[in-house]
Symmetry: none
Subunit: 411 residues, 2 copies
Amino acid sequence: MSDRPLAAVVGVGTELVTGLRTDTNTAEIAAALLGAGFRVAEMVRVADDATLISATLRRLTGACSLVVVTGGLGPTHDDITREAAADALGVSMSRDPETERRLQTFTSRHRDPDARRQLFTQADVLEGATVVVPTLGTAPGQTVPTPMGHLVLLPGPPAEMRPMLATLLATLLATSSQAVAPARLRCTGLTESDAQMRVQRALESHPGVELTILASPADIEIVIFDDGAGEAGVAGAADAALEALGEDCYSRDGSTLAQVVVRRAHEVGLRLAVAESCTGGRVAAALTDIPGSSAVFTGGIVAYSDTVKTSTLGVAEETLAAYGAVSSQTAAEMAQGVADSLQADIAVSITGIAGPGGGTADKPVGTVWFGLAREDRVRTWQRSLFGDREGVRIRATVEALDAMRREMQGS
Amino acid sequence: MSDRPLAAVVGVGTELVTGLRTDTNTAEIAAALLGAGFRVAEMVRVADDATLISATLRRLTGACSLVVVTGGLGPTHDDITREAAADALGVSMSRDPETERRLQTFTSRHRDPDARRQLFTQADVLEGATVVVPTLGTAPGQTVPTPMGHLVLLPGPPAEMRPMLATLLATLLATSSQAVAPARLRCTGLTESDAQMRVQRALESHPGVELTILASPADIEIVIFDDGAGEAGVAGAADAALEALGEDCYSRDGSTLAQVVVRRAHEVGLRLAVAESCTGGRVAAALTDIPGSSAVFTGGIVAYSDTVKTSTLGVAEETLAAYGAVSSQTAAEMAQGVADSLQADIAVSITGIAGPGGGTADKPVGTVWFGLAREDRVRTWQRSLFGDREGVRIRATVEALDAMRREMQGS
């Protein structure tokens, strides 16, 4: 066991323990605490049950120096985290006048008088707590001192929780942190075992670090934790791993593939476009998720029907008739067509069979053709992608983004 | 509180509490237990720490009639769930000869003598336990009687866990189950508190059910659980809730909004298209996520730059100059333009400011104009959407899909 301070994460909400709603918050908070040097021993999700929440918080605040709770801070009758936390710590609550004033501006949204009254329960603050003003939403966060450290209450909606978590970590940890953040390398274009072999060998001469490989349909992530080597040791190990991975590694700062593509396009001053069939808009959506993408992404055409492939992208009817929509020839004409009509420097096309239907002996589900047009040259390639409809669509989206990235590498 | 038997789910593994690995097991098990009539009060993820696992299992088996644990049953030194469970229940372990025999066939995989020895720890069975033979992998599951009911140990890899969970539920519940599946109503176009008020009032004359409201940027979901009313009671309550929600409820069978839009378009024989600016391909991606969408979705144009709005969608340069890209006039011309060029019966356009940049005093971040073209008529409307870039994009996507749904309602 290490001497890192102990932390626990609690998700409150009956919807979380029914398995009906996906809970991303607790994992996100745990990862942030890990990066900040805490050891998370336990993550708990509990139903909206005052007795149970209170017992859980009493137990965890008695064992951990930091307990972060998410959920149950809203304005409905189900939102009982504040009361339960006050009960667990044996402290009182009082209405925060500042928050009450802020909530006044939201009363117009609520037609029902009971809903209006409930709205103000969000201003109830635990004795000794520091209020974290929300940048989004109505529910404030709270940081409450405990005998062992702190209890932190954050709202449940991820968009409201996230900025508060960032603030919390910045302030709470400014004092205590000698934590070494793990190095995280993201890769595409190689298998999990290949990544493991290459990196393990590279790290043989780097003691004092711990390696974890996380594989998902979207990418492979290599995480290098400090285990005595310190900050310089982790950085040295990351350098060695990076060298072993070469161009297959697209980021070592946590950036996503789409972020890397948009950033690189900015740097080299190239404009991108995409013509999508089986990915149906996912490549465009991934690029436009990135703020500032409008300067480098001119647009995309989702050509789901053959009519659109001919009318909007200018694919010849003879091409479709002779080779089919999922072919090198169609991919080439789609890429060239969208580059021309959307005035892009680099355009990628994707046409394939995502399933579950549409596969043939010749072109089974997972067969995807890609095209990349740059100036007047077009190249095409084919991949046999693995997985169900969702898996094929994710992998095809990653392949298209990665082709843009590699194309711009040398630019 | 209801009289449903209490259950808890435990995920064991240090990788689960780092937040780096997505845990789908515990949610999957919770959903299965819910469907089988249990009330899951608590879900816990713990690190590979014998003391902590043992304390957790002691606490939960003392409170719940069913505790399901996943993970930590493999052959490595990290796999300590068996020992911790024996310690928690105060029972001994013995080697199961049947399992030992089965494991003999796997010894050839392990060259290392220590690894071979470890392999057989998987045959250690708790006193009184029933062994669940794996269909995949080497680790057997175990069902152990406890004073309050049962403790069930399942392996961590989802492909190994899943068939055992199914067997477990079939056998364990054959005796006790009179489970009623919850009713799930999904809605758009109203706030969480409004939904709660409307449904709560409607359910006043329907005792024996329990209500949960799940709100996300994408929708509001109303879940009605059985709490004594039985199957007919839940169905009656769902009917009452549906009447209170009216057209704001788009599904009562768990279908997503995009599924409802695609199904409805099939039924009424209409072809859809979309012209997207700030949603950047998300509406197209949501529709094409649905198998069979190719028959009703002709395609989409992601017009991120003004050039594309004029060249591909036929928006007049004068319109952009006079009113700007985020305006009723541009939304109207985008919708009409995409309907014409992609030959659709119903076309929706989205143009707005998703942020974080680009907002003005006149048109702040979150300002989004929508257009809907059908035959030769176009109508437009504006929404001030709440949230960060991601939130605005999700809400704008839902608004566009919902406009298609409501438009086809009367068709």
